[in-house]
């Protein structure tokens, strides 16, 4: 080996180092960790699976859609948050929406984040029998955004023949958006409106980071409680007690946010 040029020797040493460290950190370490984890925390190491009637129906950590084949909410179940993972809660294609804070104008290809939020708020409001109104949303559940040109203004997310959410803006007539027309030269003006109280909580209308969020906020659970109680013929207090039972508070009192595990709550409802 001493007769080889030094750069060759260096690369051979490097390869040997990589192979040895691969065995240590890539084979021994994960196998040892798996062995100990399986022995000490068998249930958790294998995914915290939960069963119903002896059959695995999910993981306590992975959220599910509680919708029927058409995608409509099954009303006797608490509903999860919106999800951007595949067609919703697909563990093989986890994803967030990745849409930004000023994504407010719909395009022919996709709905803007603002319109998605407004539409969800409206749908949830209808399902739970409360107002779905929010700032920056039109009554028909679209983003309330104007494109203002020198001589006119258009409500860009409301395609004709819709009635614009306001009639005039600074003296200009507001039109509905004519399909195919290019409004990009106009000034973008989102309109806040005068909504003061919002009934639908934020987590009910936003997609999570993972697309697999197993939890909802306590506020969203409480919003859904009357509907679930009605559908199941249970007293509201009983449902509220179950919510409290399946709420995880902040760890040590200050870490994270209180959250309600939806799958476990629904399983508890099915049992009661």
């Amino acid at each position: 080996m001493d007769r080889m040029p030094s750069w060759v020797r260096q690369h051979i040493a490097a390869l040997r180092a990589l192979l040895v460290l691969t065995v240590v950190t890539g084979v021994i370490y994960p196998l040892l960790a798996t062995g100990v984890a399986q022995a000490l925390f068998n249930d958790k190491a294998n995914g915290s699976l939960v069963q119903k009637d002896g059959k695995v129906v999910g993981s306590a950590l992975i959220g599910q859609s509680f919708t029927d084949a058409e995608g409509n909410p099954v009303k006797k179940y608490f509903q999860s948050r919106p999800s951007a993972a595949g067609d919703g809660y697909d563990p093989t294609s986890t994803a967030a929406s990745n849409l930004g804070p000023e994504d407010i104008i719909d395009t022919p290809d996709r709905k803007s984040l603002l319109t998605q939020v407004c539409a969800r708020s409206r749908t949830v409001g209808e399902l739970e029998g409360v107002s779905g109104a929010r700032p920056y949303c039109t009554p028909d559940g679209l983003g309330a955004v104007l494109k203002v040109l020198p001589d006119r203004a258009a409500s860009v997310n409301q395609a004709c023949p819709a009635t614009p959410f306001i009639a005039t803006y600074q003296g200009l007539q507001v039109e509905c958006a004519r399909p195919g027309e290019d409004y990009s030269a106009g000034r973008t003006v989102p309109i806040r409106g005068n909504v003061t109280t919002v009934a639908v909580p934020p987590d009910a209308i936003t997609a999570s980071g993972s697309g697999l969020d197993p939890d909802i906020s306590v506020a969203y659970a409480e919003l859904q409680a009357p509907r679930v109680a009605r559908e199941r013929g249970l007293p509201l207090d009983r449902v509220k007690a179950l919510i409290a039972e399946h709420t995880t508070g902040r760890a040590l009192g200050f870490m994270g946010e209180p959250a309600v595990n939806v799958l476990e709550l629904n399983l508890a409802l099915d049992r009661s």
Binding site: W7, Q10, H11, A13, R16, A17, L18, T22, T25, Y29, L32, A33, T34, A37, L40, F41, K44, A45, N46, G47, S48, L49, V56, V57, G58, I62, G63, Q64, T67, D68, A69, R81, P91, T92, S93, T94, A95, A96, N98, L99, G100, P101, E102, D103, L113, L114, R134, Y136, G143, T206, S208, G209, S210, L212, D215, S217, T248, A251, M255, G256
Partner: protein
């Protein structure tokens, strides 16, 4: 308890935990890198490597060893991905496409862990554990080795040698990373992180849908992903995935892991140069910058500026319910202040100014506290630049830790500083100037530019997080971002080692009344100022077109 108070306690408890670890872990690492004894396992490893552990290397040999090890790592990882379907434990995954495989190989070997792929649908067990996770260990150990070599440049006198790379690599891996990662992996499993080599399985959900269980040795990889400031998620959604980060306290623990080594290395530095106060000054600079950044990011996120967050009533798009807005912002700050790049929430959906702060954190060069090792050597370079600036003001030849900062030293430090701006700005400009580059944007307008700027900032600084709406899995982006990662890692490393070599040869100059003391709050303030001003001057125009244009009305 109000969410804001809970968020403040969350940050304060992390600070407290880091402060408690600073001395013991810093001292332990000092003993690891300065000890003269080799334990039995290490002696076997050195024999297998065919190296003489007690032989010392000049800076050139040290640098060539780093490069040789990294090149071999890249080739090995590339081959493993291309051949995965022919090997065992592949879970039926196809070979990874060439451009993507190059990108991933460079990404993991440079401690970047930029991910243009989705782990659960691209990688089998073998590539994850024997390829990616191994690089999580060794790329972190390489970073620490280079930092220690630079510190030796300051602490040694009249010598040509900086230590032995192979010894530093092996000791960093075996004595520091491996034991902490092992314990951390078990803590994570106790919280619900999975650790299994099982195959995929499916179940029928309560309402009749189908879901697939995505298995993996996640905890063992998660532990080193955070500890080694790597950040490459086992799954596409990284630490937002409930199997990677199931609870609010595992979230705290992961943030702690990704900060702990980088915040303790200044203690090691202080011990090695024989003056603990120098280490405290460096950690104070890191702490001050980090606290300003964490505070501003939390403020931006909790005030939920921007049309959509205002419509929602909170910056909650892309956040997990169990973490909430404030703790997500803390994770995001920590991951960009270090070179980690793991995410527990999706930065693309952050408020304009919150997202802008994350870009700024990376543009600082990831020095507060930075990646394991890379944070310390980056900060020491900034300290060198600071004494130079201070020297200019009073017209004296600057000194740092008794070493003269002459023409050669300041040239190396300046070149080091200039690498990132060149890569970030040229990379972003090239991408924005080409149709194929622009087509990766998901969002339009200033936010689209932020996506591209974020991508090249993240790659060039070896961070690895993303405004993840960007569709970077194209031949163009895989290639250019791969080049940014490689140059952004290895050019600074060579320059830092060259600087170390030149410092080690000097005889120390005795301190005089004219010497700028480098352990006092005055110096801490100077370094903070120089760092922020240099970075702000360099990048303000680019930031003005992206996050600032979007966030300021």
């Amino acid at each position: 308890m109000s969410p804001t108070l809970a968020g403040i306690l969350f940050i304060a408890s992390l600070l407290l935990a880091l402060a408690l670890c600073h001395k013991p872990l810093g001292d332990y690492m000092y003993r690891v890198y300065t000890g003269t004894r080799h334990n039995a396992v290490e002696r076997v490893i050195y024999r297998l490597l065919g190296v003489q552990p007690d032989s010392e290397q000049r800076w050139g040999v040290y640098a060539r060893s780093v490069l040789a090890f990294s090149i071999v790592s890249i080739l090995f990882l590339y081959a493993l991905q291309r051949l995965q379907s022919h090997l065992f434990l592949a879970l039926g995954m196809e070979p990874v496409e060439p451009a993507l495989a190059w990108n991933i190989a460079v990404s993991f070997a440079t401690n970047t862990n930029w991910q243009a792929y989705s782990g659960e649908s691209t990688m089998g067990h073998l590539v994850q554990t024997a390829g990616l996770a191994v690089q999580n260990f060794v790329s972190a150990a390489v970073g620490m080795a280079v930092a220690i070599a630079l510190v030796r440049g300051f602490s040694r006198k009249k010598t040509h040698t900086l230590g032995n790379f192979w010894v530093d690599l092996v000791r960093g891996t075996i004595r520091i990373l491996l034991p902490i990662a092992f314990v951390a992996a078990l803590v994570l499993v106790a919280g619900g992180v999975i650790q299994t080599f099982a195959d995929h399985s499916t179940w029928t959900t309560l309402t009749g849908g189908r879901q697939t269980f995505t298995p993996g040795a996640v905890a063992s990889q998660e532990a080193i992903k955070d500890l080694g400031t790597n950040g490459g998620g086992f799954f596409n959604v990284n630490s937002a995935h409930p199997f990677e980060n199931p609870t609010s306290w595992t979230n705290w623990f992961e943030i702690f892991l990704l900060l702990v080594i980088a915040f303790c290395l200044p203690r090691t530095f202080g011990r090695m140069v024989g003056d603990n106060r120098q280490g405290y000054a460096i950690v104070a600079v890191m702490g001050v910058i980090a606290m300003i950044s964490v505070g501003l990011t939390n403020w931006a996120e909790l005030s939920a500026g921007g049309t959509v967050p205002q419509a929602i009533g909170a910056a909650l798009e892309g956040r997990e319910a169990r973490f909430g807005t404030s703790n997500s912002a803390m994770f995001a700050s920590a991951t960009t202040l270090t070179s980690t790049g793991a995410v527990d929430s999706f930065h693309d959906s952050y408020t304009a100014l919150g997202g802008g702060m994350l870009i700024f954190n990376m543009l600082l060069g990831e020095v507060a506290p930075g990646g394991v090792g890379s944070g310390l050597y980056g900060m020491l370079i900034l300290a060198v630049i600071t004494v130079f600036v201070a020297g200019l003001m009073v017209g004296r030849t600057p000194e740092y830790l008794g070493k003269k900062i002459g023409a050669r030293e300041i040239k190396l430090a300046s070149l080091y500083f200039l690498v990132t701006p060149v890569l970030v700005l040229v990379g972003t400009a090239v991408a924005m100037g080409t149709e194929v580059g622009r087509s990766a944007m998901l969002n339009s307008g200033p936010h689209g530019l932020s996506e591209i700027l974020y991508a090249y900032t993240s790659a060039s600084n070896n961070n690895g997080s993303a405004f993840a709406g960007v569709s970077a899995n194209t031949v163009f982006h895989n290639t250019t971002l791969g080049l940014c990662m490689a140059f952004g890692r290895f050019v600074p490393i060579v320059l830092a080692l060259a600087l170390a070599g030149s410092l080690a040869q000097q005889a120390p100059v005795p301190a005089s009344v004219g010497t700028l003391p480098t352990h006092r709050p005055q110096f801490v303030g100077l370094v903070v100022g120089v760092t922020i001003i240099l970075v702000a001057l360099t990048f303000l125009p680019a930031l003005a077109l992206g996050p600032l244009a979007e966030g300021i009305r």
